[in-house]
């Protein structure tokens, strides 16, 4: 039987988690998920990665928090958020009614806070996995975060893996000399998957006022501008790790997503595109199905890691 967009098998298998399709929404770009209910069918997503959560509410950075750059966006939101208790009380019951994988992005000002967030969430139902946000560039001076060193990555992942009853996805920073080294440290510490990349530490300058355009001085660059670098990093990491890789960085279309899968990603996250088109993540999945149809590919997972480099 001929492959059609409707019959293409879009399922993705991370080993610890099976997804309806490979498209998740990237943390920080999709709110807590429910905001997007009016714009797309949340049950057509592979999964939702909710905005990063600290234990308590967090105020975030002073504005301006956003600046647009060529084919990109620099943000310095600073992980403003409601905290896990409000999330569990107000958001999670709603998310549980939706048939999609919910991944919670876990933050912490120190290792103990990460552990406290995981401990609290372990007591809640309706969460498929945790994505460890060890790579937000906007919360400490000069973008400091655990993902900048193999040692701090290893120690934190090891501690949380031992403490958590759920699978861990470690989200990596691209602001490092060797992202492969960090990824290997996370794998050695027992992470179930890695997700990359978080945003690139960046600066935008107002020439006339001689001031940074962001309230926090530096921010994180996302969007199509970073896609080629993100692709390279995903390829490097996927080539060396046994653990599955979730790829992201400037994905706007199904073609972009398929390139990440070809480079070795078992699944992808759509981020900044959701700001431009709230229904972007579902469109990306549809476009992937149509590409598979036109290439006679019965299952999208057959694309994973097929980049020919020799």
């Amino acid at each position: 039987m001929a492959v059609t967009a409707k019959t293409v098998d879009l399922t993705a298998d991370l080993g610890f988690l099976k997804l309806r399709n490979p498209v998740l929404t990237a943390s920080g770009t999709f709110g807590y998920g429910l905001e997007f209910g009016p714009y797309l069918d949340l049950e057509k997503l592979g999964g939702i990665v909710v905005k990063g959560l600290y234990y308590g509410p967090r105020e975030g950075n002073p504005p301006p928090r956003l600046v647009e750059t060529p084919s990109g966006l620099i943000n310095a939101i600073g992980l403003q958020g409601i905290g896990v208790e409000a999330f569990a009380a107000k958001v999670l019951p709603e998310l549980r009614r939706i048939d999609t994988a919910v991944v919670v992005n876990v933050c912490g000002a120190d290792d103990d806070e990460y552990a406290a967030v995981v401990e609290f969430l372990d007591g809640q139902e309706g969460i498929a996995a945790y994505e460890l946000n060890i790579s937000c560039p906007n919360v400490k001076k000069e973008g400091a975060c655990p993902a900048l060193s193999p040692r701090t990555t290893f120690d934190l992942v090891k501690r949380l893996k031992a403490a958590s009853r759920r699978p861990l996805i470690t989200k990596l920073s691209p602001n490092v000399t060797s992202i492969v080294e960090i990824a290997l440290a996370a794998e050695e510490a027992g992470t179930d998957a890695v997700a990359l990349v978080n945003t690139f530490l960046a600066l935008a300058v107002d020439l006339e006022t001689r001031r940074p355009k962001l309230g926090n001085v530096y921010g994180g660059l996302s969007g199509p501008a970073i896609k080629p670098i993100a692709l390279r990093m995903v390829h490097q990491v996927a080539s060396r790790l046994k653990a599955p890789v979730i790829g992201m960085g400037g994905i706007m279309t199904g073609a972009d997503a398929l390139e990440f899968m070809m480079a070795g990603a078992a699944a992808v996250e759509v981020g900044t595109a959701s700001f431009v088109d709230p229904d972007a993540a579902v469109r990306v999945a549809d476009e992937m199905a149509r590409w598979c149809e036109s290439h006679g590919i019965a299952a999208v997972r057959d694309v994973v890691g097929t980049l020919k480099t020799s």
Partner: protein
Amino acid sequence: MPIERSARLREVRSWDDHFLFSVDAPAVGKEARPGQFVMVKVGEGAFPLLRRPLGVHDAGPEGFELFFRVAGQGTALLARRKPGDLLDVIGPLGKGFTAGRGLAGRTAFLVGGGRGIAPLYFLARALTGVGARPVVFYGGRTAADVPLRDKFAAAGFELHLSTDDGSLGFAGFVTSLVERELGRAEPAMVYACGPDPMMKALAAITARRGLPSELSLESVMGCGIGACWGCVHRIKGGTGDGWVKICEEGPVFPGERVLWP
């Protein structure tokens, strides 16, 4: 708040770098209330990447109007659109002005600075509809910054103009003009939209006199739908732990709740 991917641009009027778009989009037009905004896609490719937030200038069963000034690359691209072109818009978004029957028979001041006049036309029409009497204050740096004066005058609204350089109307800030008129009339409500310094000055004036006000705040926005947390302002008693999202809880806030740096 639909995504309207092919809203037809019916008519364009322009005054130098100011543009008035009439757009066919019944789903958006029917739902829109004064003070709400839409997110408009300005380009096709990846740059400019983000949509632009624009206040609804007027709306009805057929569609809506936008009034904007070219302020950067995004609005410059938008300004190149011609009648017949299709626009991709999301909206109406946000919480608008209150313009209820409680104002029937009473006077309201509507204060617009520059492009901030945009949402006040729709508001003035709505106020007239509930039997209130809108008095419009419209200020700019020069006469070229107040191109909608004829439109407001033609609609029969009482209109007070100001320019910083004195080239038209009252010479000075629009807030000074408002202050002068407050000596003669006591409005039941002061509505405003304009640059932050104007809003801050106006908030101080209304606070001093104990007048209720509603301020429509401006910000760069990433998404317009509450997902990115990029458009925050300090608001008293908001839900955002200090920094409150303008797109979601606003853009219109009671003046006494808005905190200024």
